[in-house]
Structures are given as structure tokens and as C-alpha cells.
């Protein structure tokens, strides 16, 4: 490959005192560009971005090569047309191409196999810095990546001169799957060794595969019951209930309910799959928790009337509880929590819905003095999702309390499990509602907990990071927000007394 040596010996852009690391990195940039190109090109399903990068790199390489052979272009002439009509490219441009590549890409240097602290990341491009939270150069390799499989593969490239391709996962609640390419880079710099490390995110592919398998297993299992019942009724209607009008009407009503249940189940399963697919991507939009809650409560009016259950809302002014969130998903959270509360309420019961804002994490995650847990001896509390990111300063919380039968302690940890139903409770739900809530909350870096006592009721609370600054005119995505002048609620001190109780506006 003649392209492997496209670099003319040129003065290092950095002063020599910056030491070996920079010079090693500089000398190898060109080689890495080609290696990255080869590795990316080998990918089974190259994304558009990778394809674009390859084009850029090929263009860059070709441009440089032509510039060099023609021997007419100096470093200063970047941008001048070459005989072939390409702008010429210098080492800086190669470095920039690597820097801007969408895949995390690193150069790892090392000296001796047993010198662990000597293995440093000599160069990390923007994607790698963002992913591993490391500086551009000089990070300790093991501080950035410590999976033994990863370290072993890098060692084999550094000291064994081997190409390796491995897969690994990061673990944790926002688990991600990665494929990693490592390749040795020939270098003559004083005894140091170099390897290129390229990562590609395969989370989507892997989750898709897993979800398809899960979906099939779950769906076939859960759909079997209503399907068996339908089949039974069809059999009966064909047989001895053929001419019995009253029985036929009754059966058809049951069959219609079963069919609705199946449709709901499929909707929920699909919705859960979609949420899980995006779980590692943080939401971007803004959403008013109070306004959204009011909207959802309005839409539930018919359901409330049918069960003669009342909803008691205490919400702050609009524009106060602005959270970072995907409005559709937040609607889903509120809807599922309210649905549950209404479902488990007895006729004539009251569902209390509160939104509070400007809370610190401690207060958002704390019990309210009127929580059902504290009302009875056997009350329990369980965090169903703890925030995976604690960078937010203020949180807005939604709390939904019902006066239903409550949930026994031992069931609390399993409430968000798919299809988990508390024994002895006959429910028309799909068993997926709280699982959906949990996954949405996780995606939003929020928290979710339940408090309950048998015979007293249950309270579910979700809290989300608020938008850090006070809302400014024009910022909110919801057009209704601008109807009324807003105040700088977020600058107000949080109203609370010494016991940490939050007063709702």
C-alpha cells in the first residue's frame, strides 16, 4: 500500500520539549488514517457516516499523494488546486479528519508489557473524549477502559503486533454494546509502541436482536390466554349456543373485550420496545410537567366518571415545572400512573395528583409526611429507578396517591418487572405499564419510587431533572405556555420547612 507512507518528513508542529508522546502521536497520524479507513471499510453494515468518512479519507489521501508527486505544492498552499483539481491536504487535515470521525478513535502508546501506567491514550478524538470522559491526550488507558478483554486485545496489538476485533458491553443501567478494532502502528520512535483503537456502537443492532427474541417469547406467552378464550367461545357459538340469542350476545361481548385486551397488549409491547431502543439516548425537548399532567387528567374524565373516582390536582403555575423531556413519553408516564391509580381505586375514592418543582435530589427522593407508607405498620418503600446521572441541580416531581388496597412489601421490588402481577389481584392491565414508566424515567435520568401500605393505598412518585435556567421567552416548545406572562419561579427559594416538607404552590 503506497498510501501507507504519504508523509514527507516535515517539522513537528509542537516544540520538542513536549516529549515523546506528542511526537509519537504526530508521526503516526497518517498511518492511523489508513488503518481507520481499512477497519471502517471492513464493517459489515457501514453507516452513512462511516461511508462519508471513508470518502473523505480517500479523497484526502489521494489529494495528498497527488500533491506530493507533483512536488509543486508547499505546506502553505493548502487549498490551492492540484493538477487533478483537488485541494491539497497536510497532516493537520488528516488529524482533523480523525478528530471529526463519528466513531471513537484512539491512539494508545506503551513501552513495556509490565508497565501498566505507561499505557496512555496519546490521542483521543472528539467522539472518544465524549464517550470516555478523557482529555485529548495523556489519559491512563486503564482509567478509561478497564474491561479485561479490551485490555488484552490492546496489549496484543501493542506488544504482539496483532490485529484484533472484539465485542464488549459496558454494563450498567444504560448498557451499551461496542465492537472494538485494534491494530498495531509501526513506529520507530524511541522504543515506544503504538496501536490504533477504534470503537463502534452496536447497541442498536444488539438490542434489536434481543428485543425481537423477547417480543416473540413474551407476546406468544401472553397472547395465548386471550386467544384460547376466544377459540373456546367460537367453538361454543358454533355448537350448542348457536341459536341462543342471549348467550350469543354475552359471549360476543366477552370476545370483544378479549380482542381489545390483545390489541392493548401488542400496543404496550411495541411501545416498550421502542422506548428501550432509545434508552441510551438522552431526550432533548422541553416539557411542562404540570401542564402535561393537567392535559392527561382532562382526557381521563370519562374513565373517572365511569368509576365515580375523583382526581384531586394540585399543580404549580404553567411554565414553573419545566423538565428536560420528550413530551410524548412524559404523557405516557403520567397516563400509566393515573390509569393504575384509577384502576385500583374503590368506587367513590379520591386520587391525589401533585406536581412539585425546584427540588433538590434529596428532597425529590424523600417521602412526604402524608405518604401511605407512614400511615401503617407494614408500609414499605422501594426505589424502582434511581437516577443514573446526578448532575442536575433541581428536579420536578409528580406524585400520584390512591386509596386502593395498597401493595404488600414483598411485591414492591418486582412491580416494574414485565408481566408481573400481584397475586390475587385481578387486573385488566397488560402488566407492562410500570415497566414502561421505569424505562422512560431511566432514559430521562430521573427517579421513580413507590410507597405503599396494605389497606391504606399506594403512592407512586417520578422525578425528572429540570431545565437548568429560568425559562426565557420563546424557549418553551409548547405554544400554550406563552399565553400568560411567566415569572422566574426557578429563582425563588424552595419553600420548605425544617423537616424537608415541600409546600406545593
Amino acid at each position: 500500500m503506497p498510501l501507507l507512507h504519504p508523509f514527507p518528513p516535515q517539522p513537528s508542529p509542537k516544540p520538542a520539549s513536549q516529549g515523546l508522546r506528542s511526537s509519537v502521536a504526530g508521526a503516526a497520524v497518517g498511518a492511523v488514517a489508513i488503518m481507520a479507513l481499512a477497519a471502517m471499510g471492513r464493517a459489515d453494515t457501514p453507516t452513512a457516516a462511516i461511508a462519508a468518512l471513508i470518502v473523505v479519507l480517500i479523497g484526502v489521501g489521494l489529494g495528498y499523494w497527488t500533491a506530493r508527486t507533483s512536488d509543486a505544492v508547499q505546506k502553505a498552499d493548502v487549498g490551492a488546486p492540484t493538477p487533478f483539481g483537488f485541494p491539497s491536504v497536510d497532516a493537520q487535515s488528516y488529524a482533523m479528519a480523525l478528530e471529526l470521525a463519528p466513531n471513537p478513535l484512539m491512539l494508545v502508546s506503551g513501552f513495556e508489557p509490565d508497565d501498566l501506567a505507561g499505557r496512555r491514550i496519546s490521542f483521543a478524538n472528539a467522539a472518544a473524549r465524549e464517550l470516555l470522559r478523557i482529555p485529548r491526550e495523556g489519559a491512563l488507558l486503564v482509567a478509561a477502559m478497564r474491561d479485561p478483554v479490551v485490555l488484552e486485545a490492546i496489549d496484543e496489538s501493542l506488544f504482539g503486533g496483532l490485529d484484533r476485533i472484539i465485542s464488549y458491553e459496558t454494563g450498567g443501567p444504560q448498557n451499551r454494546f461496542w465492537r472494538m478494532w485494534t491494530k498495531p502502528i509501526p513506529t520507530t520512535a524511541n522504543g515506544g509502541r503504538l496501536a490504533m483503537v477504534l470503537l463502534r456502537d452496536e447497541t442498536d443492532t444488539r438490542l434489536n436482536e434481543r428485543m425481537r427474541a423477547d417480543f416473540l417469547a413474551n407476546a406468544s406467552h401472553e397472547l395465548r390466554t386471550p386467544l384460547a378464550s376466544l377459540a373456546g367461545f367460537i367453538e361454543t357459538l358454533r355448537g350448542h349456543a348457536k341459536d341462543d340469542v342471549a348467550a350469543r350476545e354475552r359471549f360476543l361481548a366477552i370476545m370483544s373485550r378479549q380482542a381489545e385486551r390483545m390489541a392493548r397488549l401488542i400496543d404496550d409491547l411495541l411501545s416498550l420496545s421502542r422506548i428501550e431502543l432509545n434508552e441510551h439516548i438522552r431526550p432533548q425537548g422541553a416539557c411542562d410537567l404540570a401542564l402535561t399532567t393537567a392535559d392527561v387528567a382532562d382526557a381521563l374524565a370519562p374513565q373517572l366518571a365511569a368509576k365515580s373516582v375523583k382526581v384531586q390536582l394540585s399543580l404549580p403555575d404553567r411554565g414553573a415545572a419545566m423538565i428536560v423531556g420528550d413530551r410524548d413519553q412524559i404523557v405516557q408516564v403520567i397516563q400509566n400512573l393515573l390509569d393504575n391509580a384509577i384502576k385500583y381505586s374503590l368506587a367513590g375514592g379520591v386520587v391525589r395528583v401533585e406536581v412539585a418543582y425546584g427540588l433538590t435530589l434529596d428532597i425529590a427522593a424523600a417521602s412526604r409526611p402524608d405518604s401511605p407508607r407512614l400511615a401503617a405498620a407494614m408500609g414499605g418503600r422501594m426505589s424502582l429507578q434511581t437516577p443514573t446521572w446526578v448532575g442536575a441541580e433541581r428536579y420536578a416531581a409528580l406524585r400520584v396517591f390512591d386509596e386502593g388496597p395498597g401493595v404488600a412489601r414483598e411485591h414492591l421490588p418486582r412491580l416494574t418487572e414485565r408481566f408481573y402481577r400481584v397475586e390475587g389481584q385481578k387486573s385488566s392491565g397488560t402488566g407492562l405499564g410500570l415497566a414502561i414508566v421505569k424505562h422512560i424515567v431511566n432514559r430521562h435520568r430521573g427517579g421513580f419510587f413507590v410507597e405503599s401500605a396494605l389497606g391504606v393505598g399506594a403512592g407512586f412518585c417520578v422525578y425528572f431533572p429540570m431545565i437548568p435556567t429560568a425559562p426565557v421567552a420563546g424557549a418553551p416548545t409548547d405554544p400554550r405556555l406563552s399565553e400568560k406572562p411567566r415569572h422566574a419561579f426557578l429563582d425563588d427559594p424552595v419553600p420548605q420547612d425544617s423537616r424537608g416538607e415541600i409546600k406545593l404552590s
Partner: protein, 240 residues
Amino acid sequence: MSTNEHTLKFYGEELDQLKAEVARMGGLAEAQVRDSIEAVAQRDVALAEAVVGRDHRLDQLDREIEKKAIRLIALRQPVAQDLRRTVGALKMASILERTGDYAKNIAKRGLVVADGEPMTPLTRSIERMGRLVAGRLKDALDAYTSGELDQAMAVWQNDEEVDEHYNSLFRELLTYMIGDPRMINSCAHLLFVAKNLERIGDYATNIAEIVHYEVTGEEIMGDRPKWTGLDKSAGADSEI
């Protein structure tokens, strides 16, 4: 080592070396925990045996780190944060070594459980708890390698989830054992698996404490928010 500068540089490198060794050991312990859970959940005998076979690596690393830390203390007499980092590395190594022991124990029990009938709902519960614990261990180690105090505090504050999972699993296992005495053997092993996971969760908390000490020089003050503790006085059976 003729000049002062050279000495200082060498000393800093030694500290880095220590931290690097601990981070690598952490990665290994993390992988052991993850694999041991997977071995139990998937009834994967080969993986369980691999976990058992790899445990000596952790013992070896523990000894090496201890040797290096003691050498560093003896020869360099570190003070202030350097001393805390050295002592922290010592403590981390022994915590990670014990974490590895628990993972090995889980894998061994996985071998026994794989001999019996599959108990899918139970192993699924174990897997859920295991994933939770592995996530906490990861967060704690991330906090250690990055020296981020906030992250360490988040780990330190949130260990109620693991406890509640343990309590719930305990009840579930009892129900199974009462229902079918033939399952007592496997269930008893799973009970120990759950206990081991709970202990690993506690170690994650300890790591968070070490990070806090290393960064600030102070121990974490105040009580952890233990919601279940509040109920205990009211007669609930949270202590098992």
C-alpha cells in the same frame, strides 16, 4: 535518580502505576461478577468453570498491589493525598479480591444449580438483582478511576434497592422451598448467591467511601437514607 526532579517524576509514576493496577483489578473483578451472574442465569457450566479458574488472577494482583503500596510507603513516605491514594489502593485491592471471592462462590453454586431442574422465575430474579449490583460496582469503580465525588456519593446513597431486592428474593425462595421440598437444595444455593450479591453491593458502597476519603480526606458524615430502617421500629420484618 541523581536530580530531585527525576526523583519526583519517578514517585508520581509509581503512584500512577498503583492506580492503574487497581483499575485493572477492578475491571477483572467486574467481569468476574458479571460472568458469574450470567453463568447462574444461563446455566452455563463452562462459563462458571472459567470464573472459578480466573480467580487466582485477582489474588495475585492483590498481593502485587499490596507489595507495591508497602514499598511506596516505606521508601517515599507519602503524605497528604499521596498517602490517602496509597492507602486507598491497599484497601481497594483487598475489597476487590474479596469481591472476586464472592463471584467465584456464585459461580461454584451456579454449577450445582445447573445440575438441578431449571427454575426460570427464580434465576430471573437473581439476574435482576445481579445486574443491579454489577451496575453499582461499575459506578463505584468509575468514580474511583475518574475521582468524581458526585458519582461516588450517588453510589453511597443508593443501596436500599439492593437490600429490598434481597429481602424480596428471600421471601420468594422460601415460598418455593415450602411449595416443593425437592427444590430445597437448589434454592438454598440461590439464597447464598443472593447473599453474596448483597455483600458485593455493600463493597460498592465501601469503594464509594474510599473515593470520598481519597479526594476530600474526610470520612462521609451522616447516615445513609435507609427508608426500610424507618419501618423497622414500627415492627416490619425488614431485617432478615
